[in-house]
Protein backbone atom coordinates (compact mmCIF):
# COMPACT_ATOMS: atom_id res chain seq x y z
CA UNK A 1 0.00 0.00 0.00
CA UNK A 2 1.23 3.46 -0.87
CA UNK A 3 0.93 5.68 2.19
CA UNK A 4 2.60 8.69 0.62
CA UNK A 5 -0.59 10.54 -0.43
CA UNK A 6 -2.08 10.05 3.03
CA UNK A 7 1.06 11.38 4.61
CA UNK A 8 1.07 14.46 2.35
CA UNK A 9 -2.62 15.07 2.99
CA UNK A 10 -2.05 14.86 6.74
CA UNK A 11 0.85 17.28 6.43
CA UNK A 12 -1.20 19.74 4.39
CA UNK A 13 -4.02 19.53 6.90
CA UNK A 14 -1.67 20.21 9.78
CA UNK A 15 0.13 23.06 8.02
CA UNK A 16 -2.03 25.90 9.32
CA UNK A 17 -1.45 24.77 12.90
CA UNK A 18 2.29 24.69 12.37
CA UNK A 19 2.08 28.10 10.77
CA UNK A 20 0.19 29.40 13.76
CA UNK A 21 2.68 27.95 16.19
CA UNK A 22 5.45 29.40 14.04
CA UNK A 23 4.06 32.90 13.84
CA UNK A 24 3.15 33.09 17.52
CA UNK A 25 6.43 31.62 18.74
CA UNK A 26 8.37 33.94 16.44
CA UNK A 27 6.55 36.91 17.94
CA UNK A 28 7.05 35.59 21.49
CA UNK A 29 10.76 35.34 20.79
CA UNK A 30 10.79 38.95 19.58
CA UNK A 31 8.92 40.11 22.70
CA UNK A 32 11.33 38.20 24.94
CA UNK A 33 14.26 39.82 23.17
CA UNK A 34 12.77 43.12 24.35
CA UNK A 35 12.83 41.87 27.93
CA UNK A 36 9.21 40.74 28.24
CA UNK A 37 7.97 37.42 29.67
CA UNK A 38 7.01 35.06 31.00
CA UNK A 39 3.57 35.39 29.39
CA UNK A 40 0.35 34.65 31.22
CA UNK A 41 -2.94 33.72 29.57
CA UNK A 42 -4.80 34.99 32.63
CA UNK A 43 -3.24 38.45 32.31
CA UNK A 44 -4.06 38.36 28.57
CA UNK A 45 -7.69 37.52 29.30
CA UNK A 46 -7.89 40.35 31.83
CA UNK A 47 -6.59 42.84 29.27
CA UNK A 48 -8.97 41.43 26.67
CA UNK A 49 -11.96 42.21 28.90
CA UNK A 50 -10.69 45.49 30.33
CA UNK A 51 -12.42 48.75 29.43
CA UNK A 52 -10.48 51.90 28.50
CA UNK A 53 -12.05 55.34 28.41
CA UNK A 54 -11.41 57.16 25.15
CA UNK A 55 -10.12 60.66 25.94
CA UNK A 56 -11.99 62.38 23.12
CA UNK A 57 -15.44 60.76 23.14
CA UNK A 58 -15.49 59.76 26.83
CA UNK A 59 -16.82 56.35 25.81
CA UNK A 60 -15.53 53.01 26.95
CA UNK A 61 -13.55 50.92 24.47
CA UNK A 62 -12.47 47.29 24.73
CA UNK A 63 -11.36 44.40 22.57
CA UNK A 64 -14.70 42.62 23.00
CA UNK A 65 -16.60 45.51 21.37
CA UNK A 66 -15.63 44.05 18.00
CA UNK A 67 -14.52 40.51 18.81
CA UNK A 68 -17.29 39.80 21.41
CA UNK A 69 -16.75 37.66 24.50
CA UNK A 70 -17.47 34.31 22.85
CA UNK A 71 -14.39 33.99 20.68
CA UNK A 72 -15.63 30.89 18.90
CA UNK A 73 -18.35 32.98 17.29
CA UNK A 74 -18.10 35.71 14.65
CA UNK A 75 -17.70 39.26 15.89
CA UNK A 76 -18.92 42.54 14.45
CA UNK A 77 -16.94 45.71 13.85
CA UNK A 78 -18.42 48.21 16.29
CA UNK A 79 -17.95 51.20 13.97
CA UNK A 80 -18.91 49.73 10.60
CA UNK A 81 -21.06 46.68 11.37
CA UNK A 82 -18.85 44.39 9.29
CA UNK A 83 -18.72 40.75 10.39
CA UNK A 84 -15.34 39.61 11.79
CA UNK A 85 -14.43 35.93 11.58
CA UNK A 86 -14.11 34.09 14.97
CA UNK A 87 -10.85 34.67 16.85
CA UNK A 88 -10.44 31.18 18.35
CA UNK A 89 -7.93 29.16 16.30
CA UNK A 90 -9.89 26.00 17.16
CA UNK A 91 -12.78 27.13 14.94
CA UNK A 92 -10.80 29.41 12.61
CA UNK A 93 -7.44 27.79 11.79
CA UNK A 94 -6.39 30.82 9.72
CA UNK A 95 -5.99 32.86 12.90
CA UNK A 96 -2.53 34.03 14.02
CA UNK A 97 -0.73 32.48 11.05
CA UNK A 98 1.27 35.45 9.77
CA UNK A 99 3.57 37.64 11.80
CA UNK A 100 2.90 40.66 9.62
CA UNK A 101 -0.84 40.47 10.07
CA UNK A 102 -0.72 40.03 13.84
CA UNK A 103 1.69 42.96 14.19
CA UNK A 104 -0.45 45.19 12.02
CA UNK A 105 -3.61 44.47 13.93
CA UNK A 106 -1.93 44.90 17.30
CA UNK A 107 -0.94 48.39 16.23
CA UNK A 108 -4.38 49.25 14.89
CA UNK A 109 -6.46 47.73 17.64
CA UNK A 110 -4.30 48.78 20.57
CA UNK A 111 -4.13 52.36 19.31
CA UNK A 112 -7.88 52.54 18.90
CA UNK A 113 -8.81 50.64 22.08
CA UNK A 114 -6.13 51.72 24.56
CA UNK A 115 -5.21 54.98 22.88
CA UNK A 116 -1.59 53.81 22.70
CA UNK A 117 0.47 50.91 21.39
CA UNK A 118 0.51 47.79 23.57
CA UNK A 119 3.72 46.80 25.32
CA UNK A 120 5.59 43.63 24.40
CA UNK A 121 4.42 42.08 27.67
CA UNK A 122 0.77 42.90 26.96
CA UNK A 123 0.97 41.51 23.44
CA UNK A 124 2.65 38.31 24.64
CA UNK A 125 -0.03 37.87 27.30
CA UNK A 126 -2.90 38.38 24.84
CA UNK A 127 -1.38 35.88 22.40
CA UNK A 128 -0.92 33.38 25.23
CA UNK A 129 -4.62 33.75 25.95
CA UNK A 130 -5.82 33.67 22.35
CA UNK A 131 -3.61 30.94 20.92
CA UNK A 132 -5.08 28.12 23.00
CA UNK A 133 -8.76 28.94 22.59
Amino acid sequence: MNTKPIGIAALLFALPFYAQADAVSELEAQYRAKGAGPFSAAAGEALWNKGFIDAKSGKERKCTLCHTTDLTRPGKHVRTGKVIEPMAPSVNPKRFTTVKKIKKWFVRNCKWTLGRECTAQEKGDVLAFLKNL
Binding site: K59, H77, R79, T80, G81, K100, V107, R108, W112
Partner: protein
Protein backbone atom coordinates in the same frame (compact mmCIF):
# COMPACT_ATOMS: atom_id res chain seq x y z
CA UNK B 1 -72.36 37.10 -42.76
CA UNK B 2 -75.24 37.26 -40.28
CA UNK B 3 -74.56 39.29 -37.18
CA UNK B 4 -74.82 36.81 -34.37
CA UNK B 5 -73.55 38.91 -31.57
CA UNK B 6 -76.52 41.22 -31.16
CA UNK B 7 -78.40 41.02 -27.92
CA UNK B 8 -81.75 42.67 -27.47
CA UNK B 9 -81.60 45.47 -24.90
CA UNK B 10 -84.23 47.02 -22.65
CA UNK B 11 -85.79 49.54 -25.04
CA UNK B 12 -85.86 47.32 -28.08
CA UNK B 13 -82.35 48.43 -28.92
CA UNK B 14 -79.64 45.92 -29.67
CA UNK B 15 -76.46 45.67 -27.63
CA UNK B 16 -73.77 45.55 -30.23
CA UNK B 17 -70.17 44.46 -29.78
CA UNK B 18 -68.06 47.51 -30.59
CA UNK B 19 -64.75 46.83 -28.82
CA UNK B 20 -63.39 43.37 -29.49
CA UNK B 21 -61.44 41.42 -26.87
CA UNK B 22 -57.92 42.28 -28.16
CA UNK B 23 -58.82 45.97 -28.20
CA UNK B 24 -60.15 45.85 -24.65
CA UNK B 25 -57.09 43.94 -23.46
CA UNK B 26 -54.92 46.54 -25.17
CA UNK B 27 -56.79 49.40 -23.49
CA UNK B 28 -56.67 48.05 -19.96
CA UNK B 29 -53.22 46.55 -20.40
CA UNK B 30 -51.91 49.94 -21.51
CA UNK B 31 -53.62 51.63 -18.56
CA UNK B 32 -52.24 49.06 -16.11
CA UNK B 33 -48.69 49.26 -17.45
CA UNK B 34 -48.82 53.07 -17.40
CA UNK B 35 -49.96 53.13 -13.77
CA UNK B 36 -47.41 50.46 -12.83
CA UNK B 37 -44.62 52.44 -14.44
CA UNK B 38 -45.60 55.52 -12.39
CA UNK B 39 -45.78 53.47 -9.20
CA UNK B 40 -42.28 52.07 -9.72
CA UNK B 41 -40.25 55.24 -10.25
CA UNK B 42 -38.04 54.42 -7.29
CA UNK B 43 -34.69 52.85 -8.25
CA UNK B 44 -35.55 49.92 -6.03
CA UNK B 45 -38.33 48.79 -8.38
CA UNK B 46 -36.47 49.41 -11.62
CA UNK B 47 -37.00 45.87 -12.90
CA UNK B 48 -40.78 46.22 -12.50
CA UNK B 49 -40.66 49.62 -14.19
CA UNK B 50 -38.74 48.23 -17.15
CA UNK B 51 -41.10 45.27 -17.36
CA UNK B 52 -44.08 47.64 -17.48
CA UNK B 53 -42.29 49.56 -20.23
CA UNK B 54 -41.75 46.46 -22.35
CA UNK B 55 -45.39 45.42 -21.91
CA UNK B 56 -46.47 48.90 -22.92
CA UNK B 57 -44.22 48.90 -25.98
CA UNK B 58 -45.49 45.47 -27.00
CA UNK B 59 -49.10 46.55 -26.60
CA UNK B 60 -48.52 49.70 -28.65
CA UNK B 61 -46.89 47.77 -31.48
CA UNK B 62 -49.77 45.34 -31.37
CA UNK B 63 -52.19 48.27 -31.56
CA UNK B 64 -50.50 49.54 -34.73
CA UNK B 65 -51.03 46.14 -36.31
CA UNK B 66 -54.57 45.89 -34.96
CA UNK B 67 -55.29 49.30 -36.42
CA UNK B 68 -54.89 47.69 -39.83
CA UNK B 69 -56.28 44.17 -39.37
CA UNK B 70 -58.43 44.59 -36.24
CA UNK B 71 -61.76 44.90 -38.02
CA UNK B 72 -64.50 47.55 -37.64
CA UNK B 73 -64.13 50.19 -34.89
CA UNK B 74 -60.50 49.13 -34.22
CA UNK B 75 -59.21 50.01 -37.69
CA UNK B 76 -57.52 53.39 -37.96
CA UNK B 77 -59.49 54.18 -41.11
CA UNK B 78 -62.70 53.89 -39.08
CA UNK B 79 -61.66 56.82 -36.94
CA UNK B 80 -59.39 58.80 -39.22
CA UNK B 81 -60.89 62.19 -38.37
CA UNK B 82 -59.19 65.43 -39.35
CA UNK B 83 -58.31 68.18 -36.93
CA UNK B 84 -61.28 70.29 -38.20
CA UNK B 85 -63.74 67.51 -37.38
CA UNK B 86 -62.31 67.16 -33.89
CA UNK B 87 -62.60 70.92 -33.37
CA UNK B 88 -66.17 71.02 -34.61
CA UNK B 89 -67.02 68.10 -32.37
CA UNK B 90 -65.55 69.89 -29.34
CA UNK B 91 -67.61 73.00 -30.16
CA UNK B 92 -70.75 70.84 -30.11
CA UNK B 93 -69.65 69.39 -26.76
CA UNK B 94 -69.48 72.94 -25.41
CA UNK B 95 -73.03 73.45 -26.64
CA UNK B 96 -73.90 70.19 -24.88
CA UNK B 97 -75.21 68.49 -27.98
CA UNK B 98 -72.42 66.43 -29.51
CA UNK B 99 -73.52 63.75 -31.96
CA UNK B 100 -73.15 60.19 -30.75
CA UNK B 101 -70.55 57.93 -32.38
CA UNK B 102 -70.67 54.18 -31.91
CA UNK B 103 -66.90 53.92 -32.31
CA UNK B 104 -64.36 56.60 -31.39
CA UNK B 105 -65.59 60.17 -31.72
CA UNK B 106 -63.37 62.74 -33.52
CA UNK B 107 -61.96 64.32 -30.35
CA UNK B 108 -61.39 60.92 -28.74
CA UNK B 109 -59.61 59.77 -31.89
CA UNK B 110 -57.14 62.58 -31.56
CA UNK B 111 -56.49 61.67 -27.94
CA UNK B 112 -55.84 58.09 -29.06
CA UNK B 113 -53.38 59.07 -31.80
CA UNK B 114 -51.54 61.35 -29.40
CA UNK B 115 -51.48 58.68 -26.68
CA UNK B 116 -50.15 56.09 -29.15
CA UNK B 117 -47.46 58.48 -30.36
CA UNK B 118 -46.44 59.58 -26.88
CA UNK B 119 -46.44 56.00 -25.64
CA UNK B 120 -44.10 54.92 -28.43
CA UNK B 121 -41.77 57.87 -27.80
CA UNK B 122 -41.75 57.01 -24.10
CA UNK B 123 -40.85 53.43 -24.90
CA UNK B 124 -38.02 54.52 -27.20
CA UNK B 125 -36.56 57.07 -24.78
CA UNK B 126 -36.94 54.47 -22.02
CA UNK B 127 -34.86 51.99 -23.99
CA UNK B 128 -32.27 54.70 -24.68
CA UNK B 129 -32.12 55.55 -20.98
CA UNK B 130 -31.77 51.90 -20.02
CA UNK B 131 -28.99 51.41 -22.55
CA UNK B 132 -27.17 54.68 -21.85
CA UNK B 133 -27.46 55.20 -18.11
CA UNK B 134 -27.83 51.66 -16.86
CA UNK B 135 -25.96 49.78 -19.61
CA UNK B 136 -28.73 47.22 -19.91
CA UNK B 137 -31.30 46.18 -22.47
CA UNK B 138 -30.92 45.84 -26.26
CA UNK B 139 -29.23 49.25 -26.58
CA UNK B 140 -26.70 48.65 -23.78
CA UNK B 141 -23.61 50.76 -24.35
CA UNK B 142 -24.88 52.51 -27.50
CA UNK B 143 -24.95 55.85 -25.72
CA UNK B 144 -22.67 57.62 -23.29
CA UNK B 145 -23.86 58.27 -19.73
CA UNK B 146 -24.47 61.90 -20.71
CA UNK B 147 -26.61 60.94 -23.70
CA UNK B 148 -28.43 58.42 -21.56
CA UNK B 149 -29.22 61.17 -19.11
CA UNK B 150 -30.60 63.37 -21.90
CA UNK B 151 -32.85 60.51 -22.96
CA UNK B 152 -33.86 60.14 -19.30
CA UNK B 153 -34.91 63.78 -19.04
CA UNK B 154 -36.89 63.51 -22.27
CA UNK B 155 -38.45 60.28 -21.01
CA UNK B 156 -39.70 62.06 -17.88
CA UNK B 157 -41.02 65.04 -19.82
CA UNK B 158 -42.95 62.72 -22.16
CA UNK B 159 -44.30 60.71 -19.23
CA UNK B 160 -45.65 63.89 -17.63
CA UNK B 161 -47.22 64.90 -20.95
CA UNK B 162 -48.85 61.52 -21.26
CA UNK B 163 -50.15 61.78 -17.70
CA UNK B 164 -51.74 65.10 -18.63
CA UNK B 165 -53.25 63.61 -21.77
CA UNK B 166 -54.61 60.65 -19.81
CA UNK B 167 -56.33 63.15 -17.51
CA UNK B 168 -57.89 64.89 -20.54
CA UNK B 169 -58.93 61.52 -21.97
CA UNK B 170 -60.62 60.50 -18.69
CA UNK B 171 -62.35 63.88 -18.47
CA UNK B 172 -63.61 63.40 -22.03
CA UNK B 173 -64.99 59.95 -21.19
CA UNK B 174 -66.81 61.34 -18.15
CA UNK B 175 -68.26 64.30 -20.08
CA UNK B 176 -69.44 62.16 -22.96
CA UNK B 177 -70.88 59.54 -20.62
CA UNK B 178 -72.90 62.27 -18.89
CA UNK B 179 -74.06 64.00 -22.08
CA UNK B 180 -75.19 60.77 -23.74
CA UNK B 181 -76.29 59.09 -20.52
CA UNK B 182 -74.30 55.99 -21.24
CA UNK B 183 -71.54 54.29 -19.30
CA UNK B 184 -68.52 54.35 -21.59
CA UNK B 185 -66.28 52.72 -18.98
CA UNK B 186 -68.59 49.72 -18.80
CA UNK B 187 -68.60 49.61 -22.59
CA UNK B 188 -64.82 49.30 -22.61
CA UNK B 189 -65.13 46.45 -20.12
CA UNK B 190 -67.91 44.46 -21.83
CA UNK B 191 -67.20 45.67 -25.33
CA UNK B 192 -70.90 46.29 -25.94
CA UNK B 193 -72.84 49.47 -26.62
CA UNK B 194 -76.56 49.96 -27.21
CA UNK B 195 -77.31 50.59 -30.86
CA UNK B 196 -80.04 50.67 -33.45
CA UNK B 197 -80.33 47.35 -35.29
CA UNK B 198 -78.46 47.02 -38.52
CA UNK B 199 -75.12 48.52 -37.48
CA UNK B 200 -72.07 46.40 -38.15
CA UNK B 201 -70.71 44.47 -35.19
CA UNK B 202 -67.11 43.69 -34.29
CA UNK B 203 -65.85 40.10 -34.21
CA UNK B 204 -65.16 38.73 -30.73
CA UNK B 205 -61.47 38.15 -31.46
CA UNK B 206 -61.18 35.54 -28.74
CA UNK B 207 -58.18 33.58 -30.12
CA UNK B 208 -56.13 36.76 -30.52
CA UNK B 209 -57.14 37.87 -27.01
CA UNK B 210 -56.12 34.57 -25.48
CA UNK B 211 -52.83 34.67 -27.36
CA UNK B 212 -52.15 38.18 -25.99
CA UNK B 213 -52.90 37.13 -22.42
CA UNK B 214 -50.70 34.06 -22.67
CA UNK B 215 -47.86 36.09 -24.19
CA UNK B 216 -47.97 38.71 -21.41
CA UNK B 217 -48.20 36.06 -18.68
CA UNK B 218 -45.30 34.09 -20.16
CA UNK B 219 -43.19 37.24 -20.48
CA UNK B 220 -43.99 38.13 -16.85
CA UNK B 221 -43.02 34.68 -15.67
CA UNK B 222 -39.72 34.67 -17.53
CA UNK B 223 -38.95 38.22 -16.34
CA UNK B 224 -39.68 37.67 -12.65
CA UNK B 225 -38.98 33.96 -12.16
CA UNK B 226 -35.75 34.86 -10.33
CA UNK B 227 -37.85 35.97 -7.35
CA UNK B 228 -39.48 32.54 -7.20
CA UNK B 229 -36.21 30.66 -6.91
CA UNK B 230 -34.22 33.06 -4.73
CA UNK B 231 -33.01 32.07 -1.27
CA UNK B 232 -32.08 34.33 1.66
CA UNK B 233 -28.42 33.48 1.04
CA UNK B 234 -28.66 34.15 -2.69
CA UNK B 235 -31.19 36.94 -3.16
CA UNK B 236 -32.23 37.59 -6.74
CA UNK B 237 -30.60 40.49 -8.56
CA UNK B 238 -32.58 41.48 -11.64
CA UNK B 239 -29.71 43.35 -13.26
CA UNK B 240 -26.11 42.26 -13.02
CA UNK B 241 -23.55 44.87 -13.90
CA UNK B 242 -20.19 44.51 -15.59
CA UNK B 243 -17.37 42.92 -13.64
CA UNK B 244 -15.28 45.76 -12.23
CA UNK B 245 -11.50 45.69 -11.87
CA UNK B 246 -10.40 43.96 -8.69
CA UNK B 247 -7.22 43.54 -6.66
CA UNK B 248 -6.63 40.90 -4.00
CA UNK B 249 -4.38 43.08 -1.83
CA UNK B 250 -6.86 45.98 -1.88
CA UNK B 251 -9.74 43.66 -1.04
CA UNK B 252 -7.89 42.16 1.90
CA UNK B 253 -6.50 45.37 3.38
CA UNK B 254 -9.37 47.75 2.67
CA UNK B 255 -12.07 45.16 3.25
CA UNK B 256 -11.05 44.13 6.77
CA UNK B 257 -12.87 46.77 8.82
CA UNK B 258 -15.64 47.62 6.39
CA UNK B 259 -16.86 46.83 2.91
CA UNK B 260 -14.05 47.24 0.39
CA UNK B 261 -15.49 50.44 -1.16
CA UNK B 262 -14.80 50.21 -4.86
CA UNK B 263 -12.34 52.84 -6.18
CA UNK B 264 -14.99 54.01 -8.65
CA UNK B 265 -16.92 55.59 -5.77
CA UNK B 266 -14.49 58.50 -5.15
CA UNK B 267 -12.33 60.68 -7.38
CA UNK B 268 -8.56 60.18 -7.58
CA UNK B 269 -7.76 63.26 -5.47
CA UNK B 270 -9.82 61.80 -2.61
CA UNK B 271 -7.95 58.49 -2.66
CA UNK B 272 -4.60 60.26 -2.86
CA UNK B 273 -5.45 62.34 0.21
CA UNK B 274 -6.80 59.33 2.07
CA UNK B 275 -3.72 57.21 1.43
CA UNK B 276 -1.41 60.06 2.38
CA UNK B 277 -3.21 60.23 5.72
CA UNK B 278 -3.42 56.49 6.34
CA UNK B 279 -2.05 56.83 9.88
CA UNK B 280 -5.18 58.74 10.89
CA UNK B 281 -7.89 57.03 8.85
CA UNK B 282 -11.15 58.13 10.49
CA UNK B 283 -9.52 57.64 13.87
CA UNK B 284 -7.68 54.44 12.93
CA UNK B 285 -4.01 53.93 12.21
CA UNK B 286 -3.92 51.72 9.10
CA UNK B 287 -0.20 51.03 9.58
CA UNK B 288 0.25 49.71 6.03
CA UNK B 289 3.78 49.07 4.78
CA UNK B 290 5.02 51.45 2.09
CA UNK B 291 4.95 48.89 -0.75
CA UNK B 292 1.44 47.63 0.08
CA UNK B 293 0.17 51.18 0.42
CA UNK B 294 1.68 52.11 -2.95
CA UNK B 295 0.21 49.09 -4.70
CA UNK B 296 -3.25 49.80 -3.26
CA UNK B 297 -3.02 53.48 -4.12
CA UNK B 298 -2.14 52.66 -7.71
CA UNK B 299 -5.22 50.46 -7.99
CA UNK B 300 -7.42 53.14 -6.40
CA UNK B 301 -6.18 55.86 -8.76
CA UNK B 302 -6.45 53.71 -11.88
CA UNK B 303 -10.12 52.99 -11.26
CA UNK B 304 -11.25 56.20 -9.57
CA UNK B 305 -14.61 57.82 -10.27
CA UNK B 306 -13.17 59.88 -13.17
CA UNK B 307 -12.90 56.66 -15.19
CA UNK B 308 -16.73 56.46 -15.21
CA UNK B 309 -16.74 52.68 -14.90
CA UNK B 310 -20.33 52.77 -13.68
CA UNK B 311 -23.28 55.15 -13.68
CA UNK B 312 -22.66 55.76 -9.96
CA UNK B 313 -19.01 56.64 -10.64
CA UNK B 314 -19.96 59.11 -13.35
CA UNK B 315 -22.65 60.75 -11.26
CA UNK B 316 -20.64 60.86 -8.03
CA UNK B 317 -17.70 62.48 -9.77
CA UNK B 318 -19.90 65.02 -11.51
CA UNK B 319 -21.63 65.97 -8.27
CA UNK B 320 -18.42 66.99 -6.48
CA UNK B 321 -17.23 70.58 -6.85
CA UNK B 322 -13.71 70.77 -8.28
CA UNK B 323 -12.57 72.56 -5.12
CA UNK B 324 -13.77 69.77 -2.82
CA UNK B 325 -11.94 66.60 -1.84
CA UNK B 326 -14.43 64.49 0.10
CA UNK B 327 -12.98 61.57 2.05
CA UNK B 328 -16.37 60.01 2.50
CA UNK B 329 -18.54 58.56 -0.27
CA UNK B 330 -21.43 59.28 2.07
CA UNK B 331 -20.65 63.00 1.90
CA UNK B 332 -20.64 63.35 -1.86
CA UNK B 333 -23.68 65.32 -3.08
CA UNK B 334 -24.86 62.49 -5.35
CA UNK B 335 -24.83 59.97 -2.49
CA UNK B 336 -26.59 62.39 -0.15
CA UNK B 337 -29.24 63.11 -2.78
CA UNK B 338 -29.87 59.44 -3.52
CA UNK B 339 -30.36 58.61 0.15
CA UNK B 340 -32.16 61.70 1.42
CA UNK B 341 -35.56 59.99 1.43
CA UNK B 342 -34.39 57.29 3.83
CA UNK B 343 -35.55 58.22 7.33
CA UNK B 344 -33.08 58.55 10.20
CA UNK B 345 -34.43 55.59 12.12
CA UNK B 346 -33.48 53.28 9.23
CA UNK B 347 -29.80 54.17 9.60
CA UNK B 348 -29.94 53.57 13.33
CA UNK B 349 -31.65 50.20 12.97
CA UNK B 350 -29.27 47.37 13.95
CA UNK B 351 -30.07 45.59 10.68
CA UNK B 352 -28.59 48.54 8.78
CA UNK B 353 -26.01 49.76 11.27
CA UNK B 354 -25.10 53.08 9.73
CA UNK B 355 -24.53 54.64 6.35
CA UNK B 356 -21.17 52.98 5.80
CA UNK B 357 -22.68 49.49 5.82
CA UNK B 358 -23.72 49.66 2.16
CA UNK B 359 -24.14 45.89 1.92
CA UNK B 360 -27.06 45.89 4.36
CA UNK B 361 -29.21 47.39 1.57
CA UNK B 362 -27.23 46.94 -1.66
CA UNK B 363 -27.02 43.30 -2.69
CA UNK B 364 -24.12 44.05 -5.05
CA UNK B 365 -22.14 46.38 -2.78
CA UNK B 366 -19.24 43.93 -2.70
CA UNK B 367 -19.00 43.95 -6.50
CA UNK B 368 -19.17 47.76 -6.47
CA UNK B 369 -21.74 47.96 -9.26
CA UNK B 370 -24.64 49.43 -7.21
CA UNK B 371 -27.23 48.42 -9.77
CA UNK B 372 -30.83 49.54 -9.65
CA UNK B 373 -33.30 47.05 -8.19
CA UNK B 374 -30.44 45.54 -6.17
CA UNK B 375 -31.25 47.52 -3.05
CA UNK B 376 -33.58 46.21 -0.37
CA UNK B 377 -34.00 48.27 2.77
CA UNK B 378 -34.27 45.71 5.57
CA UNK B 379 -36.53 48.05 7.56
CA UNK B 380 -40.13 48.90 6.61
CA UNK B 381 -40.29 52.43 5.21
CA UNK B 382 -43.97 52.88 4.42
CA UNK B 383 -44.87 51.15 1.15
CA UNK B 384 -45.03 51.88 -2.54
CA UNK B 385 -47.59 54.71 -2.47
CA UNK B 386 -45.49 56.79 -0.13
CA UNK B 387 -42.49 55.96 -2.28
CA UNK B 388 -44.38 57.16 -5.35
CA UNK B 389 -45.30 60.43 -3.69
CA UNK B 390 -41.69 60.99 -2.65
CA UNK B 391 -40.38 60.10 -6.08
CA UNK B 392 -42.88 62.32 -7.89
CA UNK B 393 -42.39 65.33 -5.66
CA UNK B 394 -38.69 65.07 -4.91
CA UNK B 395 -37.68 67.16 -7.89
CA UNK B 396 -39.94 69.98 -6.77
CA UNK B 397 -38.63 70.01 -3.24
CA UNK B 398 -35.68 72.26 -2.67
CA UNK B 399 -35.08 71.85 1.04
CA UNK B 400 -33.74 68.63 2.48
CA UNK B 401 -34.95 68.99 6.02
CA UNK B 402 -34.32 65.36 6.83
CA UNK B 403 -32.42 65.85 10.04
CA UNK B 404 -30.84 62.71 11.36
CA UNK B 405 -29.46 61.44 8.10
CA UNK B 406 -26.54 63.78 8.24
CA UNK B 407 -25.62 63.02 11.82
CA UNK B 408 -22.02 61.91 11.81
CA UNK B 409 -21.52 58.62 13.54
CA UNK B 410 -19.45 58.52 16.74
Amino acid sequence: MPIRTEETGARGEVRLRVWNLPLRLFHWGLAASFVTAWLTLDDRYRDIHVFAGYVMAGLLLFRLLWGVIGGPYARFRDFAFGWREARDYLKLVLQRCPPRFLGHNPAGSWAIYLLLGLGLLIAITGLLTLGGEERHGPLAGWLSFAQGEMAHNLHELLAWSMLGLVAVHIAGVVVESLLHRENLVAAMLTGRKPSKPGMVSARAGRPTGILMSVAIAAFGLSWFHGYLVETPERPYRPFSGIELPDQALWREECGACHLAFHPSLLPARSWRTMMAGQSSHFGEDLFLERDSADEIERFLLENAAEQALTEAAWKINRSIAATETPLRITETPYWVDKHKEIPGRVWEDPRVNGKVNCASCHLDADAGTFEDAAMRIPVDTGGALKGLWEAMTSRFRLDSSHAGIFNPKG
